[in-house]
């Protein structure tokens, strides 16, 4: 297999040394089938062991290796050399504070995942412990897409609303709430409404759609958010007219 020389331009930031981030060049002999992550691993192992980045599975499922590649948010294990020019710029994800080199601070979105109450909430008792809920394949299909989120945070990096104001709950957390709202086993929609229909919730979204384009798992968070706007409005009217037993 042939190799191709790639000029990697990597953003560096060491808070103990640097006032601000800067770019370092590495010339990397890449195998044809490599992803950008492989090039970074090559740098770490052969050229510069001080470069910090997150990675683990190298199979598009752990969500660790999200970075900005040539200006767009990508999973670096899924961004192949064969699709890129000879010069590649790698930066940390946008819209997050940079901790160190390509590592960003994720505290804020971790908090937001929690706000979505991403667990089954019941009003009625669940079935006995040896009995499953029946769920039709159609009912599963309804929310399955929204279970695919790997929390890679590319959507937050792509979202200008989140960039402008970190108060926005944001694409992944909202899709996660939607996933549980749509699950036939869940009865917690009203409880999730308080936070999500608030002004930092779905209404902060102006449907740029960048989140869905960035999503490596086709979760389509933009769609989830628009559906929640419709849902939230319906729920609000229902509560207004006392058509539901839930507290508004």
């Amino acid at each position: 297999m042939g190799t191709r020389q790639i000029e990697l331009e990597v953003m560096r930031y060491n808070p103990e040394k640097d006032e601000a981030p800067w770019f370092q060049q590495y010339s990397v002999p890449c195998e044809e089938d490599w992803a950008i992550l492989d090039a970074l691993i090559y740098v770490k192992d052969n050229l510069d062991s001080t470069l910090s980045y997150r990675w683990s599975c190298h199979m598009m499922v752990c969500g660790s290796c999200g970075m900005t590649v040539n200006g767009e948010p990508h999973l670096t294990c899924k961004t192949f050399i064969r699709d890129l020019p000879d010069k590649v710029r790698v930066e940390p994800l946008e819209n997050f504070p940079i901790e160190r080199d390509l590592v960003v601070v994720l505290d804020d979105v971790m908090q937001k995942l929690q706000l979505a109450k991403p667990y089954i909430i019941r009003k009625d008792d669940p079935p006995p412990e040896d009995e499953e809920y029946p769920q039709s394949r159609a009912a599963l299909k309804k929310f399955k897409q929204y279970t695919m989120c790997i929390n890679c945070m590319l959507c937050y990096s792509a979202c200008p609303q989140y960039g402008l104001s970190n108060d926005f709950i944001g694409p992944a957390a909202l899709s996660l709430a939607h996933r549980y709202n749509l699950d036939s086993r869940d009865q917690g929609k009203a409880q999730r409404l308080d936070i999500l229909a608030d002004h930092d919730g779905v209404w902060e979204c102006s449907f740029v759609g960048a989140c869905s384009e960035a999503c490596p798992k086709n979760v389509d968070p933009a769609a989830a958010i628009q559906q929640m706007k419709v849902d939230g409005t319906m729920e609000w009217w229902k509560q207004k007219f006392g058509l539901t037993g839930d507290k508004p």
Partner: protein, 586 residues
């Protein structure tokens, strides 16, 4: 150094650690739990498991059959009391996950679907398409968010165990983003840090699987059990080692050599089964050890297919059709397209065996207890002897649930029964010594070795000496090589001197852990002079129940080779017999 006081410390927040944390929170919300993980919980390697989780479900199946499959699959090295408990609890745990929202794939009638898996006599593998581990992990993580008593310490790298009078009392960990050291003290400690596949060069395992928990326990004097048993999964993608789930074969995929011949029939797994109609426990649904060994022989015979990434065989799934592949195996379909450029709908995929799972680990029992009071171990990092000499596919996801819950109960009871002083000067001194060791590594300014260099040599020597087939000479060379690397690793200089997210330092700490795990694998492979399950010796080709129906126990001896002891296998009702993978045709 900051001091954190908890009742129970759990190290590792993958499937096992999260399951244990939830169980403790449910037992008593007053119990303070510190859940430490070197990565965010959703990054844990449980997420990469694909095929599913085993538990008896259909009326034509029975606990007895699941027991027998597991014990014979493990070549009778399983502790049978553990297997009995496991098969009994398995269905309940899988239903529990269903109640927590796991998106299991469904049958037309709305019940949870099950698929066939290697070495299993009936369909009993619960699955969520081909992302079962991912969905299990995320369901557990999300469910855990509702329990305020679970206090998470994400991206904290655990350094070593604290123990006093032979009892586990906590851990010392480093917060990655600040470089600050934390002294966690607790009444009981649960290790749930996953396996150590990264000690091999070609593995399905993620970067984080460096045997940290195993090494911490080993250094604290706890024995490592059955470390010679390393599972090669027969169908990894060449180059990257990415797993193509056994579900591919469960759904009907077949393995062929360069002549298009289904070679498994030549290795005691025949007769050939009709295309698209897999037969339980035969041909492609044989156990992983047998399939990987068959590849080795085919390669020796020159029957493999040369590719840019080395020798492979082909997995042919074309007869399954696009709809079935895209519905049940969408992720592996995408992975094969992305990483080797093959669309399994139209072409056979090149595959080869790849290191996948450690049957061995921290010696533990049916309660998840280790020989050190107060220390529990669960999941892949533990060896509770459910899996014996070869794990059956889809038993491990269920294992982490069943024993995660059980160890949680044990750890909670232990914490309740054993009072402990909040201040312990002896422990503080121990913690200071651990911190001093790590600071020393960071400050060292001389040295001519590198993490990547030593790591590469370690991987290659294990693959050479303790791969699919082993012998006296090879394992001896590997043992010496690992010892040499242990010594040379002292000359590694950490170039990165920063306190903030120093992955250079972390890499060295992980390498030290891997070398400890590698030492156990090489030494135990050398000591077991028989062939059983995943441990195949070319100089001792037969199973030897007379001498080796025993667990190996590796004890660390600082400065010398570890001591290997032997522990009897617990047998309740199944005497060692013949592993029959002819689909009852014999």
């Amino acid at each position: 150094m900051k001091h954190i006081q908890a009742d129970i410390v759990i190290v590792g927040a993958g499937g096992a650690g999260l399951r244990a944390a939830i169980a403790i929170a449910e037992i008593d919300p007053e119990i303070e739990i510190a859940l430490i993980s070197k990565v965010y919980p959703m990054r844990s390697h449980t997420c990469a498991a694909e095929g599913g989780a085993a538990g008896v479900k259909l009326s034509d199946d029975s606990l007895e059959m699941h027991f027998n499959d597991t014990v014979s699959g493990g070549d009778w090295l399983c502790d049978q009391d553990v297997v009995e408990y496991f098969v009994e609890q398995a269905p309940r745990e899988l239903v529990q996950l269903e109640h927590w929202g796991c998106p299991w794939s469904r049958e037309d009638d709305g019940s949870v679907a099950v698929r066939p898996f290697g070495g299993m006599k009936k369909k009993r593998t619960w699955f969520a398409a081909d992302k079962s581990g991912f969905h299990i992990l995320h369901t557990l993580f999300q469910t855990s968010l509702q329990f305020p008593s679970i206090k998470r310490y994400d991206e904290f790298f655990a350094l070593d165990l604290l123990h006093e009078d032979g009892r586990a009392r906590g851990v010392v960990a480093m917060e990655m983003r600040s470089g600050c050291f934390f002294h966690f003290s607790a009444a009981s400690v649960i290790m749930a840090t996953g396996g150590a596949g990264k000690i091999f060069p070609f593995t399905t395992n993620g970067a984080i699987k460096t045997g940290d928990g195993m090494a911490m326990a080993y250094r604290a004097g706890v024995p490592m059990k059955d470390m010679e048993f390393v599972q090669y999964h027969p169908t990894g993608l060449p180059g990257t080692g990415i797993l193509l789930t056994e579900g591919c074969r469960g759904e009907g995929g077949v393995l062929v050599n360069k002549d298009g011949y289904r070679y498994l029939q030549d290795y005691d797994m025949g007769p050939e089964t009709p295309l698209g109609e897999p037969v339980f426990k035969s041909m492609e649904l044989g156990p992983r050890d047998r399939l990987s060994q068959a590849f080795w022989h085919e390669q020796k015979k020159g029957n493999t297919v040369p590719t840019a990434w080395g020798d492979c065989v082909l997995m042919d799934m074309r007869h399954l059709g696009a709809q079935r592949i895209l519905e049940r195996l969408p992720m592996v379909h995408e992975l094969a397209v992305s990483y080797v450029g093959v669309d399994m709908i139209t072409d056979p995929v090149p595959v080869r065996p790849v290191v996948h799972y450690m049957m061995g680990g921290i010696a533990s029992n049916i309660e998840g207890e280790t020989p050190m009071p107060g220390l529990f171990a669960i999941g892949e990092t533990a060896c509770g002897s459910l899996n014996g000499a070869n794990r059956l596919g889809s038993n491990s996801l269920t294992e982490l649930l069943v024993f995660g819950k059980r160890a949680a109960a044990g750890a909670a009871a232990f914490a309740a029964e054993n009072d402990y002083p909040r201040e312990a000067p002896a422990l503080l001194a121990q913690a200071e010594a651990i911190v001093a060791r790590v600071r020393g590594l960071l400050q060292k300014s001389e040295g001519n070795e590198s993490v990547a260099g030593i790591r590469g040599e370690m991987m290659n020597s294990l693959e050479e000496g303790a791969g699919i087939y082993r012998d006296e000479e090879g394992t001896e060379i590997a043992c010496k090589k690992i010892a040499e690397l242990q010594a040379r690793s002292a000359a590694i200089k950490v170039n990165d001197k920063s306190n903030v997210f120093n992955t250079d330092l972390q890499g060295l700490l992980e390498l030290q852990n891997m070398l400890d795990a590698a030492e156990c694998v090489a030494e135990a492979s050398n000591a077991r002079k028989e062939s059983r399950g995943a441990h195949q010796r070319m100089d001792y080709v037969e199973r030897d129940d007379e001498n080796y129906l025993k667990h190996s126990m590796a004890y660390r001896q600082p400065g010398e080779r570890p001591r290997i002891d032997w522990l009897d296998v617990t047998i309740t009702r199944s005497q060692p017999g013949v592993r029959d993978y002819s689909g009852d045709k014999k």
